[in-house]
């Protein structure tokens, strides 16, 4: 364990309407065992004691599963480590003298609420448009009534691992939400439970995705590269197939 000294440039913005700018702070003697968010905690304690409003940032589980945290560190969503959320990024990946530029996830569909806090409710809207199997509680058949090969279950699980953090949108030069949308559509079109409404689902989820202001996918693969859960763009290929099939045969 050792300590490092850092310079931070953090995006400060009072609220959605205000103009924001990067502010510079220095932090000394940061233990390399800290997580990135703990480093921000330390900064916030310091700012508080200096009478400055602390940096607002979203976070919750701090174990990489809730999808609440996220920021762009030196241009990379969730920072330099692969398959890692911001809360699981540790300071040992940085060294003394590093300048870290910390910005919120930016996208037209994710308005900034304050500092690093953004509004990702557009993702919820996409799910609400059809990211479910329409079953009511009760009256469902026995869990083993439909056999599902373990291979298919695993593929569905690969897609279902999405934590909805929004890094894919933040890193996509076009601000597209294809990786997110395709992950849910893949999960449900792979599993037999989701087959009954697969066409309607693909059409309405894509329609909502477009309406919410996300950009167009141009197969740049940035999303896949920053995804903390390594969701593959194979899911996007699957979504494309689902969508075409639905568009040409639904109704």
């Amino acid at each position: 364990m050792s300590n490092i000294d850092l310079t931070l440039q953090i995006w400060r913005q009072k609220n959605s309407d205000a103009l924001g700018k990067l502010e510079t702070y220095t932090l000394d003697k940061i233990s390399t065992d800290m997580s990135f968010l703990e480093m921000l905690d330390v900064l916030n304690e310091k700012l508080t004691m200096e009478g400055i409003e602390p940096v607002a940032f979203d976070h919750d589980c701090r174990e990489g599963i809730c999808g609440m945290c996220g920021a762009v560190i030196n241009g990379v969503a969730h920072g330099p480590e692969k398959e890692t959320t911001l809360c699981q990024l540790h300071m040992r990946h940085f060294k003394t003298g590093d300048v870290l530029v910390i910005e919120p996830f930016r996208s037209r569909a994710f308005p900034i609420k304050k500092d690093l806090v953004v509004d990702r409710s557009a993702f919820d809207k996409i799910i609400q448009a059809g990211g479910y199997v329409s079953v009511n509680t009760g009256g469902t058949p026995d869990g083993n009534a439909i056999p599902i090969s373990s291979h298919i279950a695993e593929l569905a699980m690969d897609a279902a691992a999405c934590i909805g953090c929004g890094a894919c949108v933040a890193s996509c030069p076009n601000g597209a939400a294809m990786l997110f949308t395709s992950a849910k559509i893949s999960q449900l079109c792979l599993l037999p439970q989701g087959h009954a409404e697969r066409k309607k689902r693909a059409l309405s989820m894509v329609e909502t995705m477009d309406k919410e202001g996300f950009g167009n996918c141009t197969n740049l693969r940035e999303c896949e590269a920053v995804c903390p859960k390594s969701i593959s763009i194979r899911n996007i290929a699957r979504l494309n197939r689902e969508f075409v099939r639905a568009a040409f045969s639904e109704g």
Binding site: M1, K14, S31, D33, M34, E38, D41, E45, T48, M49, E50, G51, I52, E53, P54, A56, D58, D60, R62, E63, I65, C66, G67, T84, Q88, H90, K114, D119, R120, S121, D124, I127, Q128, A129, G131, Y132, V133, S134, V135, N136, T137, G138, T140, P141, G143, P147, I148, S149, S150, I152, A153, E154, A156, M157, A160, G164, Q187, L188, L191, Q193
Partner: protein, 642 residues
């Protein structure tokens, strides 16, 4: 306070069916006239919101996060139990019931636990139908594993992310209802107070966390699905936003709080590495299947683990419990780790850790086999600690993980305030003094999907509920009080920082006090000391806490301060409860109550009851009530792992 558990009549196995038949119903066409508020969107909250909306009730759902998908149920790794007996290894509803009661050290209600075991099977069917990608066998049937030392394989799982997948299932059902208009969703809202009118829970006051606006919401019933209070210890495996505020507000309006001192401490967490640490990370208990727990025999031995020869290592669990060895239950493993560290044999930079060594397992099974079983856990450990468990032993230490205590509820999950229900970890009902692994998910979903619909219908059917409105005096007053309290929190901040303390400093102080004195081992002296110390910390908080920013804005410090203020009050009934319960039981050891072999000694004669605390006013000692536990179908036995 009257504690009528309203347990249905009839033999244990028929109680739930009898109850469903005798419960009052609400005509489907009339359901839309009833408005239900659900606070929280974890497994219990999301499941309840979706199910009640499907049935036709008007539901308003509130969550503290930016999306209902973030609730901390998402972090559960291991799995969910159900009595499906798909493996034909002798499981049954009765066995799951028995294991849960026994695991809870005979401090839970038989009828509730039996119902939990019964509906566990429906939960699996429901989740499969929703498209939860449970692990499958090659033939396509659902896979099971044995979990937490259970003798049967009854745990269903989706990799190490079962909680996530079940929550996303419930979230998708909730999303469908939001889309259909059955649920009105309020994101980034924190419940600040409960509104009780004519003795019935009729609404809540919320704060919009983005703009600080206080809002009133009326309803015909309020469901609290707000999780546990483990964060009272500051360091726990709970998410940062987990808090006791909603439950505590309910308590202050007259809801009984049951068994607040029942807290589960999980033995295999990554140890604390510095005072800046914000939370603890749990690693699956399954690691103890192959890892061997040890500490150096000599106190203060600072050598590297590899330099400590075999004869100078103390495999204390194997030595003390030869038949169970490293697989002793959670509480025993946790307690012994703490004991070793208290004796000065702890390892790591803080001395608050013990080794969990895979060297022998690797030698026996080969690196490949071990990696196949624990690869992802090793990876996670290495990411956090920068040390590879293949090369040197892991270090582990116990951490607060789950709270069995919670709002007292009857068989219908209703608290002592009519119309106020508590579901999931927020209530006390099913786990007694200790929760079995893979049972938290089961309880959350059971309450949300299957228990609450009957309970709500019954409540609406049998009660007279007068119309109310957001603009009623009760709401205006409540909103006023919430505003006053927020202003009081901000009062110290006007003059600047000078000599003041931060919210986290106070929270850490509170956490340390409770961890040391009201943690896994307690004694009268320590508890009494803590009870004296606590008001001092509380006073310091109100006198000195500094909160930058304003209340009319997104202010995360203010949010935390409000929660810590409630923890500071809540801690007191925890200590009272621990003090009252002079027996060792479930997860905690009361040092005065031990066997000759220094093992936990339960005292059924004097403590076979649920202790329920009633608010009497600020600065007035709370009043304790007892709900006696009677066991007709199981015989309480003393646990032994020797």
């Amino acid at each position: 306070m009257e504690l009528n558990a309203r347990i249905p009549s009839g033999p244990l196995a028929e109680k739930w069916d009898n109850h469903k038949f005798s419960a009052k119903l609400v005509n489907p066409a009339n359901r839309r006239k009833f408005k239900v508020i659900v606070v929280g969107t974890g497994l219990a909250g999301a499941a309840a919101s979706a199910t009640l909306a499907e049935q036709g009730y008007k539901v308003s759902t509130f969550c503290i996060h930016d999306s209902p998908r973030r609730a901390h149920s998402i972090a559960a790794q291991g799995g969910i139990n159900a009595a499906k007996n798909y493996q034909t290894d002798g499981d049954s509803v009765f066995r799951l019931f028995y294991d849960t009661i026994k695991g809870g050290d005979f401090r839970a209600r038989e009828a509730n636990v039996y119902r939990l075991a019964q509906v566990s099977n429906n939960i699996i069917d429901q989740c499969v139908a929703q498209g939860v990608p449970f692990a499958r066998e090659y033939g396509g049937s659902l896979a099971n594993r044995s979990f937490g030392g259970a003798q049967v394989s009854r745990t269903f799982y989706a990799r190490g992310q079962t909680g996530q997948q079940l929550l996303l299932g419930a979230y998708s059902a909730l999303s469908r209802q939001i889309h259909n208009g059955g649920v009105t969703m309020f994101n980034r809202r924190e419940m600040m107070d409960l509104v009780v009118i004519d003795g019935q829970a009729r609404g809540i006051i919320t704060r919009n966390l983005i703009n600080g606006n206080l809002e009133s919401h009326w309803a015909d019933a309020v469901l609290l699905c707000t999780g546990g209070y483990g964060n009272v210890y500051f360091l726990s495996t709970n998410a940062m936003a987990s808090n006791v505020t909603a439950a505590w507000r309910a308590y202050k309006h007259g809801a009984g709080f049951a068994n607040p001192s029942f807290v589960q401490i999980h033995p295999t967490c990554i140890p604390v590495h510095g005072d800046y640490q914000s939370k603890l990370t749990l690693m699956s208990e399954s690691l103890r299947n192959d890892g061997r727990v040890w500490v150096p025999k000599n106190k203060g031995d600072k050598r590297k683990p590899a330099d400590i020869p075999e004869e100078e290592r103390d495999y204390y669990l194997e030595n003390k419990y030869p038949s169970f060895g490293n697989l002793v239950p959670r509480d025993v493993a946790s307690r012994n780790a703490k004991e070793q560290c208290d004796q000065g044999k702890g390892v790591g930079s803080t001395g608050l850790a013990v080794y969990l060594d895979f060297a022998d397992a690797i030698k026996r099974d080969g690196e490949e086999t071990i990696l196949r079983k624990y690869g992802n856990l090793f990876q996670m450990y290495e990411k956090i600690t920068d040390s590879s468990p293949l090369e040197e032993p892991m270090t582990i230490y116990p951490a607060v993980h789950y709270t069995m205590g919670g709002l007292w509820v009857d068989y219908n999950l209703m608290t002592t305030i009519p119309g106020l229900f508590a579901l999931g970890e927020c209530n006390f009902s099913d786990h007694g003094a200790n929760r079995l692994g893979a049972s938290a998910l089961m309880q959350g979903l059971a309450d949300g999907y299957f228990v609450i619909p009957t309970a709500i219908g019954n409540y609406f059917g049998e009660s007279s509920i007068a119309p109310v409105n957001d603009s009623d005096e009760a709401f205006i007053n409540a909103q006023q009080q919430v505003g006053d309290r927020l202003n009081k929190l901000l009062q110290n901040s006007s003059g600047g920082v000078g000599g003041k303390v931060t919210v986290d400093e106070i929270h850490k102080e509170l956490g340390r006090l409770l961890w040391d004195n009201c943690g896994m081992a307690r004694n009268k002296e320590g508890l009494e000391m803590a009870l004296k110390k606590l008001p001092e910390i509380r006073q310091k908080f109100w006198d000195k806490v500094y909160i930058p920013g304003s209340g009319s804005d997104l202010n995360q410090t203010l949010e935390r301060a409000g929660r810590v203020a409630d923890f500071l009050e809540f801690g007191e009934i925890m200590i009272h409860d621990a003090l009252n319960r002079a027996e060792s039981c479930g997860c905690h050891l009361r040092e005065e109550s031990q066997t000759e072999e220094n093992e936990a000694k339960r005292d059924d004669e004097n403590y076979s009851y649920v202790s329920v605390w009633e608010y009497q006013g600020d600065d007035v000692e709370p009043k304790m009530h007892k709900e006696d536990l009677t066991f007709e179908y199981v015989t309480p036995s003393q646990r032994s792992y020797k």
